[in-house]
Amino acid sequence: MTELSTFILILEGLLAGAGVTVVVTLVSLLLSVSLGFVLALVRQFGKRRALHALIDLYCEIMRNIPALTHLFILYFGLASIGFRLSSIAAAILGLGLIGGAVTCDLFRAGFAALPKGQAEAALAVGFTPFQTILDILTPQAMRIALPSLGNYAVQLLKDTSIVSAIAAPEIMFYARSMVTSSFQTTLIYTTVALLYLALALPLMQAIRILENRYGRLKA
């Protein structure tokens, strides 16, 4: 009985951070997907070589450096030159900028998977190139990218735990502060794992439903 009441106490403590976890996840997801989509469009259909190189460089920098380091640069680094971000803002910005590079690749893979005939057919019936990209190619590319975007969303949810390192008050932050005041570490971190799992499972389920409804488009 005392075990159970401790568990409930811990859970209550952790839930205080769940809101921030969810908000950081959703807002940085939105930022990632918007940024990634624009980058993918420019990289896939743009004509400017210099812009391509710039986007490639951006993606490589995001891809090959840990999120933790990006967060430290944004939070501690920028603060030291007088550009102070709140921990939540730094978290969202950091995860969003990294996610932009990740989703850019996913969208590009979606566009690349489309048969050439799709664009040719659209142009042949009189669509402008711009209409072709937005009305014909994009919806199909989105569907192809959907499963990997879903995986990315789950990954992002988990990655928000890292922002506890810059003191953003999310689940892991509360867990770590609880630990310093108690010896129930095993129980606390098990509860943390279960809580993330509980948040991730509906997300995974939602992805599966979306995938079944919109995905699996056969060309």
Binding site: T69, S80, T190
Partner: protein, 220 residues
């Protein structure tokens, strides 16, 4: 700009050896964890294709759980949590184990996808010439799976390398922790974290390039 660059010039002599040593630690941590995750992952993938249903279920459950739980939670559980249950690891071991356990699930999924990509006829032809099931697997199926999986495995290694930075949060003195310590000592967090980022980049980038080189043309 000059104000940003100048500290590097001034401190290069002190920073370089520190960062180099930390890069070594990060590399060691990542390589150990990746090697272990390959072993675990292959085992999991093989277990997922057996005739024992309970084993398959167990592996599927493990993979799904690890997919939903942050690495940081696994790391803290192993390092801070298990002592409460009477098991103690030093920080480096805990980090290797946590990374290996988490990435084994990804490796297993890659191997599984690779296994499923091999047509059944490949194994049948192997059995037909008189190979045992073990020979069919090691001589015919596995080499093909490895060939398919090598590019995504390298991508996974880069992810692991980046995630090894979380070991800094349980006091493993790799790049990220060294960076933190230096940032406090020199009061130059921007320059130092950028330098740390560059160090990671220098290790990870060649692998990213390699993975693109090895990927089949369609996936490029």
């Amino acid at each position: 700009m000059n104000r940003f660059i100048q500290p590097y010039v001034d401190n290069a002599g002190e920073w370089l050896p520190l960062l180099l040593e930390a890069m070594g630690k990060t590399a060691l941590l990542s390589i150990c964890a990746f090697a272990l995750s390959l072993v675990f992952g292959l085992l999991l993938a093989v277990c997922r294709n057996t005739r024992w249903r309970w084993l398959e279920r167990g592996v599927a459950l493990y993979v799904a759980t690890v997919r939903g739980v942050p690495l940081l939670a696994i790391l803290f559980l192993l390092y801070f949590g298990l002592p409460g249950a009477g098991v103690t690891f030093d920080a480096f071991t805990a980090a290797v184990l946590a990374l290996a356990l988490a990435f084994a699930a990804q490796v297993a999924e890659l191997f599984r996808a690779g296994l499923m990509a091999i047509p059944a006829g490949q194994r049948e032809a192997a059995l037909a010439v008189g190979f045992t099931p073990y020979q069919s697997f090691t001589l015919i199926v596995l080499p093909q799976v490895v060939r398919i999986s090598i590019a995504p495995l390298i991508v996974t290694f880069v992810s692991l390398l980046k995630d090894s930075s979380l070991a800094s949060l349980i006091t493993v003195d790799e790049l990220a922790l060294t960076g933190r310590a230096m940032a406090t000592e020199y009061f130059l967090p921007l320059q130092i974290y950028v330098a740390v980022g560059l160090c990671y980049f220098l290790i990870a980038w060649p692998f990213s390039l390699l993975s693109k080189r090895l990927a089949p043309p369609a996936a490029r």
